[in-house]
Amino acid sequence: MKTARDPFRFSTAAYITRVCPLEAGSLAELSEALERSSDASIFYHTFQSLHRHHFLTEGYSNDFAQWVLAACNCSELAERLASFDIRDYLSLADLRRDFCWAVRDYCQTYPSRAEAPAFESFDFLEAVEVAVPLDLEAANLREFVEVLARLSHASIYFHFISSRLRLHLRTNDFSLWLERNLGLPSLADRINRIDIYTHTLEGVQRTLLDLIARQGA
C-alpha cells in the first residue's frame, strides 16, 4: 500500500456566530445590505448554512433563498438564489457579487415587490471559524479510511466543504491529498463530485467510504 509523502492531518472546526448591525425588511433592503455585508456574513449564510442545515437535502440551498421564499413569498427570485452553487466560487467576494446582482436585477424588474415588507426581517450574522487539530493522521489509504469512519460532521464539513475557500481551488482537502500524496486522481475527482446539496454530512461520509472501498483501500 502506497505511503503518503505528507500524512493527512485531521482537524475540526467550531463556529461562533457574531451579530452584525445589518438587517433587511424587504427585498430592496436585502439588496442594499448585501452590498455592505462582510465576507464572514456571506460565509455564514451560504457555506455555514449548509453545515447547520445539512440534514435538509431537498430545496434548502442558502439562507437568502429560504428567506426570500418564506418571508417574501417570491419563488422566482428564491429559485435563482438557490441555484448558486458554492462549489463554483473561489472567493466570497464573487459569491456576494452574484447574490447582489440577482437581487438588484429582480428589484429593478419588479419595483413594487422590492418594497413590499417581508413577514419577518432578515438578520445578517457572521461566522467565525475556530479550527482545532484533532491529533489524528493517516499516512495511507487504510489509515485514512479508519479515521474518516469516525469523524464528526464538523470535521467532514471542515475538510470537504469549507476547505474550498481555504484552498482557493475547485477541490477539497480530501481530494487534494488523495491526488497529490497517493497518486489517485480519478478517486479524488469522484470524491470531489459528491453533491453536497443532496447529501447530508453522514451521506457524504458514507459515499466517501464507499468510493474508497471500491478503489480497494
Binding site: 461562533i16 451579530v19 447547520r52 475556530v130 469516525r150
Partner: protein
C-alpha cells in the same frame, strides 16, 4: 407512579453519546483540551428555578467532566435587591418602570457586596443576566476575559434603566444574546448562542409508548384520535383563544382533540384570568382539554408532546420558544407563528410550518392531518435540526469555541 430517574441524575458527557454520537463528544473533548490551563466562572442570581439555573445545573458538570476548572457562583441579595432586579427585568423587556431613586443604589450596593464576597479570579468569567452585571466594576489588574450572557430581549429597553446599565455592559469583552432580534446597538462584539434543551432531562428523554398512553389517558385524552397540542403558560401573548378558534376550523374536517396545557395560572393573576377566558371559549366541548399543570410536570409535558399528532405554538410574541424545540426534538410536526426565535427553529416547509393568522394555522393543521407522511418527514427533519443546533452539547461547544476565540484574539 415511580419517581423519574432523569429528574435527579448525575451528568456525564459520555451519557450523550447515544444521542449525538461518539465523534461529536470526541470533538467537544478536543476543543476542551485546548482550554486545560484556563478556568471558567459562571455567575448568576439563582441556583434553582428558571431557565438559566437549569442550563447551568447541566453545563457545570459537563465542564468538570472535561477537566476544565469551573466555578458557579450565585449572587446573594435581600428582597429589596430582587424587587429592583425584577423591575429592571420588566423595564428591559420594554415594560413600564416605576422610577425610584434608591433602586440604582440598592442594585449597586448588592453588586458591591457580592464583589467583596465572590473571588472573581478565573480566566474566563461569564456573567448571566442583569442582576450581577455590575460585578464587572471590579475588573482591573486582571487579564481575565469577561462575557455578559444576556438571556432576555433587549431590543426595546426602557431608556432610564438601560442608560444606567449600559456603562457596565460596555466594560465586557463581549455580550451573548439568544436571538439577533434581542440585541441592542453596542460598541462591544455581540455573539449569538441559542437556548438549548437537555435531551436526557425528564421533559425530553425517550418514553415507552405505553407510558405515554397511560399518562395522557389519565387526563381523559383519547390516544386513538388526533391530538392537537399547545404547551404554554396561560398568557394572552401565547394566543390560546386563537388556538381554540383554529381548532374549531379544523374540527369541521377532522375528528380531533385539542390540548392546551401549561402553568402559571396559580401564581399570576393575569394567568388566572386568561385561563378563565379559555375555559369559557372551550365551553362544553369534551374534546378540548385545558390542563393547568403544576411546575413539577416535566414528565407529563413530555408525554403530552409525544402523544400529539400536531404541536401548535401560535404565539403573538415569543422569546426563543423552547416548547417548539422540545416538540421538534420529539419528531412532531409543528405549526407555529413566525415570531421571536421560532423561524430559526421552524424552517418553513422543512422542519415545520410557519403561520401568520388563525386561519393559516387551521389550514396548515388540516394539511398535516391529511398528509401524515409529510408530517412525519417534517418531524424527522425538525429532530435533526435540534440535534445539530439546539441541544445542551451544542451549547457547550459554542461556549468552548467562544472561549478559544477570545483567547486567540488577545
Amino acid at each position: 407512579m415511580p419517581p423519574d430517574p432523569a429528574a435527579h441524575r448525575v451528568i456525564h458527557l459520555d451519557d450523550y453519546i447515544p444521542v449525538v454520537g461518539e465523534p461529536e463528544i470526541a470533538e467537544i473533548r478536543a476543543l476542551a483540551s485546548r482550554l486545560q490551563d484556563q478556568s471558567v466562572q459562571m455567575v448568576n442570581s439563582t441556583a434553582v428555578g428558571g431557565g438559566v439555573a437549569e442550563i447551568l445545573n447541566c453545563m457545570i458538570p459537563m465542564f468538570q467532566d472535561l477537566r476544565i476548572p469551573v466555578r458557579w457562583d450565585v449572587m446573594t441579595g435581600g428582597n429589596d435587591f430582587f424587587e429592583v432586579t425584577k423591575a429592571f427585568h420588566n423595564a428591559l423587556h420594554g415594560g413600564t418602570y416605576d422610577d425610584r431613586a434608591e433602586n440604582f443604589e440598592i442594585f449597586l450596593a448588592y453588586n458591591e457586596q457580592n464583589r467583596q464576597r465572590v473571588a472573581l479570579d478565573s480566566s474566563l468569567i461569564v456573567i448571566h443576566d442583569p442582576q450581577p452585571l455590575a460585578l464587572v466594576a471590579g475588573r482591573h489588574n486582571h487579564a481575565a476575559h469577561w462575557l455578559w450572557r444576556c438571556h432576555i430581549d433587549l431590543s426595546r429597553p426602557n431608556p432610564l434603566v438601560w442608560d444606567f446599565l449600559e456603562p457596565f455592559v460596555i466594560r465586557y469583552d463581549g455580550a451573548i444574546f439568544s436571538s439577533p432580534s434581542f440585541t441592542h446597538q453596542l460598541p462591544i462584539p455581540q455573539y449569538l448562542s441559542y437556548p438549548c434543551i437537555d435531551p436526557l432531562s425528564a421533559k425530553n428523554h425517550d418514553l415507552e409508548p405505553a407510558q405515554v398512553r397511560a399518562i395522557v389517558e389519565r387526563f381523559g385524552i383519547d390516544s386513538g384520535r388526533p391530538i392537537l397540542t399547545q404547551i404554554s403558560r396561560f398568557d394572552r401573548l401565547k394566543d390560546p383563544l386563537g388556538v381554540v378558534k383554529a381548532y374549531r376550523l379544523v374540527r369541521s374536517y377532522f375528528d380531533c382533540q385539542l390540548v392546551l396545557a401549561g402553568g402559571g395560572a396559580a401564581d399570576d393573576p393575569e394567568g388566572g384570568a386568561v385561563l378563565t377566558e379559555v375555559r369559557e371559549a372551550a365551553g362544553s366541548d369534551p374534546d378540548i382539554h385545558i390542563l393547568d399543570l403544576p411546575p413539577w410536570s416535566a414528565l407529563e409535558i413530555n408525554a403530552l408532546q409525544r402523544a400529539s399528532t400536531v404541536i401548535i405554538q401560535k404565539s403573538l410574541r415569543e422569546g426563543f420558544g423552547l416548547t417548539v424545540t422540545e416538540a421538534l426534538w420529539k419528531k412532531k410536526p409543528v405549526v407555529a407563528s413566525a415570531v421571536g426565535g421560532i423561524p430559526v427553529q421552524v424552517i418553513h416547509k422543512h422542519t415545520g410550518l410557519l403561520v401568520h393568522s388563525i386561519e393559516g394555522a387551521a389550514y396548515q393543521i388540516r394539511f398535516l392531518l391529511s398528509n401524515p407522511a409529510l408530517a412525519a418527514q417534517l418531524g424527522e427533519q425538525g429532530h435533526e435540526h435540534v440535534r445539530e443546533n439546539f441541544l445542551m452539547t451544542s451549547n457547550l461547544k459554542r461556549y468552548l469555541a467562544l472561549f478559544l476565540h477570545l483567547l486567540c484574539r488577545h
